[in-house]
């Protein structure tokens, strides 16, 4: 008995720092996104059955979708595109937001004003409508999706990083660096940024989740990855009629979205709680 518990304890993951835990979970999804489709038994556009919304069976484990395609395969592709688009757009929004957020702590006040008004403006347009407009104007290519989601969530990243940077900029070690005569880039890159890592990570995670959600809701307006590829939200959307037949084609992708977002959120919550 006690041997077993020791065994389990030995099996338990080494105690990870919160950042490692976030990166670990995130890494898992990235790996799934990159490698998952290689294990898909069918092509994403291949119709394999005349029965639509087929239930789970030995032939196609997760059933079929509204066209009679293999749901399991499509799910693997959907994870790829949701995770990749959201990762890239998060990288974009956080990159821009953080850069702007830190930069405006050092630039003249009017620049901060301009940036602030700009961000307020973006924030004030409902995100779904903003996405609709931008994608209608520039098409729904992968790049357009990534940039749209990126721009929409830039203000949030800007606000968070600016608040953080302002606090850090007041720290004495920044004073010392300024008094030493260090350049602005060195101060931003070496002195400020490394100290924002923890809270920023939580913020980045949050932005990622928002991106997943907006991407899901975009599918409602018929926007998303080009067929036959699919993202998770579009997968739910295109199969939503299966709901009345209790089809897994609606339920399974919803669960995957839930596991993706709730999982990362819980780990992030854990980081802020400790």
């Amino acid at each position: 008995m006690s041997g077993m518990t020791t065994g389990f304890r030995a099996l338990r993951l080494p105690s990870l720092t919160p950042a490692q835990r976030v990166m670990g979970l995130f890494g898992f999804w990235l790996v799934l996104a990159v490698c998952g489709p290689f294990f898909a038994p069918y092509a994403p556009g291949q119709i394999i059955d005349t029965e639509v919304f087929a239930p789970l069976s030995h032939r196609h484990w997760l059933g079929t979708d509204y066209l009679g395609r293999d749901l399991g395969s499509r799910l693997l592709y959907a994870v790829r595109y949701t995770v990749l688009i959201c990762t890239l757009s998060t990288a974009f929004s956080c990159g821009c937001g953080i850069l702007l957020g830190i930069a405006t702590t050092a630039t003249p006040a009017w620049m901060e004003q301009v940036a602030g008004r700009l961000m307020d403006g973006i924030l004030s347009i409902p995100s779904l409508l903003c996405a609709l407009l931008v994608i209608a104007a520039f098409g729904d290519s992968l790049l357009a999706l990534v940039l749209t989601l990126g721009v929409i969530y830039t203000p949030g990243a800007y606000r968070t990083s600016r608040a953080l940077a302002l606090r850090i900029a007041r720290m004495d070690y920044i004073t010392v660096a300024v008094a030493r005569g260090e350049g602005a880039l060195f101060i931003i890159w070496r002195e400020i940024l490394p100290n924002m890592r923890g809270p920023l990570l939580a913020d980045v995670g949050l932005r990622f989740i928002y991106a997943v959600l907006l991407l899901s809701n975009l599918s409602f307006l018929g926007l998303g990855v080009q067929p036959p590829l699919v993202d998770l939200g579009s997968l739910v959307r295109e199969n939503v009629l299966g709901l009345v037949y209790g089809s897994g084609a609606v339920i399974l992708p919803t669960i995957v979205i839930g596991v993706l977002t709730v999982g990362i959120n819980l780990v992030l919550d854990g980081t802020s709680r400790r």
Binding site: D172, T175, A179, R180, R197
Partner: protein, 619 residues
Amino acid sequence: MSRAHMISVRNLDIVGHRPDGGTVPIVRDVSLEVREGQMLALIGESGSGKTTIALSLLGHVRPGCAISGGQITVAGHDVTSMTRHELRGFRGRTISYVAQNAGTAFNPALSIAQQVIEPARVHWAMTRQQAERKMIELFRALALPEPETIGARYPYQLSGGQLQRLMAAMALITDPEIVVFDEPTTALDVTTQIEVLAAFRAVLADRGITGVYVTHDLAIVAQIADHAVVLRHGQVRESGTVARILGNPQDEYTRELVAACRIPPRATPCAPMASAREDRVLDLSDVIVGYGNRTAEGLPERRILDHVSLSVPRGSTLGIIGESGCGKSTLARTISGLQPWAAGQVVFRGEALAPAVADRTREQRRRLQIVAQNADLVLNPAWRIGATIERVLTFFHGMKGAEARAEAMRLLDMVRLPHALLERYPAELSGGQKQRVNFARALAARPDLVLCDEITAALDPVVAAAILELMAELQETLGISYIFITHDLHAVRAVCDQVAVLYAGHVVEQCDSQSLTAGAHHPYTRLLVSSVPEMRAGWLADAMALRHAEGAPAAQRRADGGCQFFSRCDMRMPGQCDRGPVPVHTLPDGARIACYRSCADLAFPGGVAPAAPLHSYES
């Protein structure tokens, strides 16, 4: 259980829970007793568990902690076995608490009166009218200004000293049997601290209240307590009467503590005021720093520093003292170029310095280093110690790799730190170690002048004493000059040659540091010096006897000329001091005092006739 022991703690253990489920002991096997009407001092450094013990007397432990053993009996109640409901009736009624930082312990959203009478109201002790009458009475007893109306104010409108006294009023409103004071004066300026202490003592003595006083300052213990318990790492090191503990400490740690409070004045004679310009490393003349609209002359309307002139002789230390808000830190920022000045001149090693750091040469920046106040904020937490120091070496001397590493080690040797620290992060260091690293980083530039801004303020006395010692040693070996900004007069006497007294942005006096207690001085200097607690019983009474005027504590900047200290001055001459420029006297030893009074008057306060100044010129 005899009523004679108002408080009795037996074998108290308190543990803290770690996130991983383990526990750490915070308080271990502590026993203590307090008799009715007596005051017990809990003495210890940060982390000694003194606040935890104090709070446990009220049956309160902070989240994440728990009482794991022992017994606490307070006024006949077994605190550890009380229910929540019983505790609620007990706290604030039988025993009350005065927190360390009244600024945050008062609810910013509620008026003072609401909060002060709240304990009386929630315990149904008296009606609202009774409570308000009682409150005003207490305000009066605690020497608060405008006792009838101060209750209607909000916390942000009051000064720290007032809030601390208001908090005492809140603690006393229900006539509790016991009051616990948790470092109530630590955050205050010395001049305020003395008034608060006096007020406390008067009220406590009046009401025969049993007290527990938590502090790290032995001088205060000497004034206020009967018995003392010395704590370290959650354990009792020594206990006994205050007189015995201060006079004849048995425990080694207690001895260290007592010694740290009695820093000897510097052994070497003070460097004289250098008259020749070449002998001075830094010269400030008529420096003005401020903000707001510009006046007709193009000077800022609101001034933080006004016509400040100072000089630092080569290889010596200039101390700068003053209350919080007098402009000390701004002075440091101004000299180091972080806060440009609006007028005046700063000459460093014979060269005029540019107001902004960006306009100064690398050589100037290298030779003038700053060591900032809070060691927790001054080291970049993301950098290893080695990287922190080596960056300076690379930046100023172009050293890299092994060379830089070797030099960094040499610097650590210099500040007496082990080489292993190079691989650590600041979070892994103690406060004293961080301050030493801070110093080593400044030394890495091989400076001529180091600005030390309150470097000992956040440190425990024993650690602070060691830092001061280090400073003096480095000056001797490296010949660097210091500007030492502090509010601690002991420290000034220990390391400074000269001292400048700053009041409301003005230098009211610059003199020899060893002559602070004797000779002619500005009235404010005398007030400051006399407010520094001494570690002898009865000092408080003596000091209070010397104070004549109860001035408005908050220094109000006057824009209409005249002496800034006018409203608080006990030698003021209405109709003369409050208008026109203040004359500056230069004394034979080089000291300078800005006052309307003659040197003779200043040398003998309360003296008879104002005499003509020896040398006077309009500043």
